[in-house]
Symmetry: C2
């Protein structure tokens, strides 16, 4: 049986690759430069391939490949520890909730307890990681899916998800737009449009590209922030169209929200948590999931 790759070596490897320097990595990790050098040598010998070019320090192609593995791997390793530790000691500190910006729909907001919650807005794909490592007790992720379909989340760890809410998806158009009067839109109607590319604030477009039959969207302006207000303002100012859940798209000055009817997709919000939510976290889970069942 072949022994697993030593995660200790892996950690120094990713640090070296990130900083592009053995000595810097040594400083950051609290080792001597010598130790780091030996770590990399050991890893290269173990895998039987050079991982870094020296001078300048850059990953080789094999090293690039290893980097792709290393991130999720170290994440899972930490997640495993965090998850088990969480079961043992539940200090009942304040509840931390990690959420993507558009995941905070009306149903969620109504269910939040009045006090004792720390809300942390993160990019969509950081949320499972935050929950897995214990940085947050609960996560709220949103995205586009077929009705009643679960979202596709990166599975960094065994997490539990519950559907919490589904809303229609709307296109946000400046009210001067020729299609602004429509009561419904198909994606095909907008084939020639320019889109705002806002993976962290808006609804990710990539998911639709497939349903769209492979036709790529023409991105106009890319927005890397997480502020929905900025995004709606950009859309209202005519910088491009964007997709939002109805509740986030209505009431924007200078813009109208038109429901998207084809393809038949919904904006879905899911609650994600680790093994054993306790105390306030458990209560919030109960409240959100129960509301869903009433629906």
């Amino acid at each position: 049986m072949l022994s697993p790759v030593d995660p200790h070596l892996l950690r120094t490897y990713v640090t070296v690759a990130r900083l592009a320097s053995f000595s810097e990595a040594a400083r950051e990790l609290g080792y001597t430069q010598s130790a780091v050098s030996q770590h990399i040598a050991a890893l290269e010998q173990d895998l039987g391939a050079p991982l870094l070019t020296r001078r300048p320090v850059t990953p080789t192609s094999a090293g690039e490949r290893l980097l792709e593995h290393a991130g999720p791997l170290l994440l899972r390793l930490d997640a495993a520890r965090a998850d088990v530790v969480r079961m043992a000691a539940a200090p009942e500190r304040g509840l931390t909730l990690a959420a993507s910006p558009t995941a905070l729909g009306p149903r969620v907001l109504a269910a939040l307890p009045c006090a004792g919650v720390t809300l942390r807005v993160l990019a969509r794909d950081e949320i499972p990681a935050a929950v897995a490592t214990g940085a947050a007790d609960l996560g709220l992720v949103d995205g586009i899916a077929a009705p009643n379909d679960p979202l596709r989340l990166p599975d960094v760890a065994p997490l539990t998800t519950h559907g919490v809410a589904e809303e229609p998806v709307c296109v946000l158009l400046p009210d001067t737009h020729p299609l602004a009067g429509r009561s419904a839109l198909r994606l095909g109607d907008l084939a020639a449009a320019r889109w705002l590319d806002a993976p962290d604030a808006g609804v990710p477009l990539a998911r639709l590209r497939v349903a769209n039959g492979g036709g790529a969207f023409r991105p106009a302006l890319r927005y890397d922030g997480t502020d929905v207000r900025v995004l709606t303002a950009l859309a209202a100012a005519g910088h491009g169209l964007t997709l939002l859940p109805r509740s986030a798209a209505t009431g924007v000055p200078g813009a109208v929200a038109v429901p998207l009817t084809e393809p038949r997709v919904v904006h879905r919000t899911e609650l994600v948590h680790g093994g054993a939510p306790r105390g306030a976290a458990a209560r919030l889970v109960g409240r959100l999931v129960e509301r869903e069942r009433d629906r």
Copy 2:
């Protein structure tokens, strides 16, 4: 910064949990019983929680949780090594192809080279693991999805997938069945039917349960093998209905295949491979993906 869980300890832990014995695990791992005892003690101290009850040796609740993490974790660790090693040394041995039973549709069979291929039929969720760890060079997985949607695969490692074929999904009915004369069926027509539960041979039903609005299927007989012939024979004999891709469902004596039109799903086959397919593997990838593009 917290140091990652030692995978060495993790490996002995899962072995102990599986065998429910320290001494047995020691024998299997080539350690002394003392070493295993120390490993478990170290892990429990590291995580700050008891993981096993002794006498009898059983995982605690925290231990159960850890087991859920451990499997994917060790798999990924091996996958990382295998992937990098594969980049370095490409010995150009015979091509090994791992496939789920119903993934071998006509398009795939036509593209296979005449010689030098080892075909290995595995359960659906073992295939990504086999490809990731290098047990197979390529994998073929099938499943049910919305048209043009990718399948949901367990992401054990960064793998690349290509859609290879899509076929209609058919219900296989014994020709004495009252609905056997229909030219098309909706899932709602079959709400009262009994189903064959064959997760490894047929098409998994779980995926449809969601699209079905949460209504569970009534399973009649469970078949754990991977032989499609057995499955079709069972269906023809009236032991229950089953879903199959059209090419696998036609021509079964005593049964008819009726296309499923609602929900709108297809049987999809995907090719999955690791980082850098070479030689014969690369040629096969090329041939399969190219055929897809022609479609």
